[in-house]
Subunit: 234 residues, 2 copies
DNA sequence: TGAAATAGCGTATGGATTGAACAGTTTCGG
DNA sequence: CCGAAACTGTTCAATCCATACGCTATTTCA
């Protein structure tokens, strides 16, 4: 029965198997999850491995499997705890959605490795569901159907993830400027030869320098305007 | 000089180091990339490993490193070729954007493993850039700035990726129905206890059964309407 | 007090990416 | 025409990673 549940579901809601006999656990799931977050923060997503966590906590690798059933389970727990709870949202669906997206982008900026966590399925953990819950509450005032609200939420969530991902990859490396120039030098002749007029213009005019700080507001404004059109049409 | 270029850039544009001496290569990069796509199609993204490709082609694992510098490089090449070229877009930015998004979703549906390819940086490969190029051309008629056009493109692209990803994970498993019920049974009491009114309603009313086929059109309509609002305001 | 349950450990397997050294093959330079 | 340079694929190896199995030691319930 409990076996059919997705990894991490039970543990994230605090359902531990009741211990009856045997030695006391040297560790706790919480400790393991915290260590995972620590490693993610300091060395990125791929540094979150059972081996490293075990070594850091002074136990053998396989001792981990007394606490989590698989690495996937661990990742779900780490993700939920690292993302944390959503903020209080202001009144008004538009302001609320803006705050919600900004908060998500902030989380991803603080912990970029969260962007690397593969999406395994619909959210089922407490904190993730709390994010959904607060946004659905804010969207209630639009008078749209639950189905439409979910569509809007998906749109906003996807956008936040996408934008954060973009920001990270563009701001990732210090040598990005150097490398971008090298790429341009390599690419431009081929773009001209290969009939890519728009991209050629983009690269040679350096219009792409505009900075992407506005892109968050830009995309968000488009989505919100689109939702507004839907609301008005009802 | 060529070392500073991102992995796969040179190779994807057909720049092979000119061979002058030594034995003739037993393989070609193209052969390797095709095999990678084959494995991805038949066994998913994680089946694309240098070991398996090498074994399938009858050479040792490390022989691969004569052709590609790293697995990352291979993945870039595989991704570009597997995604292929964009379709011809119809007249009118709205129709074009719709066709563009649909085409992307189709690609992701045909080869779901493309969704698993980690995004490494701005697109630099021929096919990927072609997708950008055609959409930018279609957006030219809107009269918006290049910056705004890029913002729109980012929005559409992110949405397509996001939607395809959602479709896959929901339609992924046959036992999804079974599992969803088990999850519901586990979750609902906790949602009630934990003060998640919207989600409780969602789960108990089975409103989430509505089907996500419309979600593509829904989200797309929101984005396009939002862009339209921007155009009108100019 | 003894038996059952359970924790951590050692050992082991199978897989991945990548490096170093080496031997064979081809072709250019003279 | 021949040696040397360049480049090939190979073996061997190191270093990670996630798991599985079985053992021993510990704790607690009956």
């Amino acid at each position: 029965m409990s076996d059919e549940l997705p990894p991490g579901l039970a543990l994230s809601w605090g359902v531990h198997p009741v211990q009856r006999r045997g030695p006391k656990p040297a560790l706790s799931v919480e400790q393991i999850v915290d260590t995972g977050i620590e490693f993610g923060d300091s060395q990125g997503f791929e540094a979150i491995s059972l081996q490293k966590i075990a070594a850091h906590l002074g136990v053998s690798t396989n001792a981990m499997y007394r606490y989590v059933r698989s690495k996937d389970e661990l990742i779900v727990l780490v993700q939920d705890k690292a993302f944390g709870l959503p903020p209080e949202l202001p009144e008004g669906w538009r302001e609320a959605a803006t705050a919600w997206v900004h908060a998500q982008v902030e989380r991803f900026t603080e912990r970029p490795w969260l962007l690397d966590v593969p999406i395994r399925g619909a959210p089922v953990t407490p904190n993730s569901l709390r994010w959904v819950e607060v946004m659905l509450q804010a969207l209630e005032s639009t008078g749209l159907s639950m189905h439409d609200n979910l569509g809007c939420l998906l749109l906003l969530n996807g956008f936040a993830h996408n934008y954060a991902s973009l920001v990270r990859q563009l701001g990732a490396s210090d040598d990005m400027a150097v490398q971008a120039e090298a790429v341009g030098r390599f690419l431009v002749p081929r773009l001209i030869d290969g009939d890519y007029p728009m991209l050629t213009a983009l690269y040679t005019n350096q219009e792409y320098e505009d900075g992407i700080d506005d892109d968050l507001e830009f995309g968000l404004a488009r989505i919100l305007d689109g939702i507004q059109v839907l609301i008005d049409s009802h």
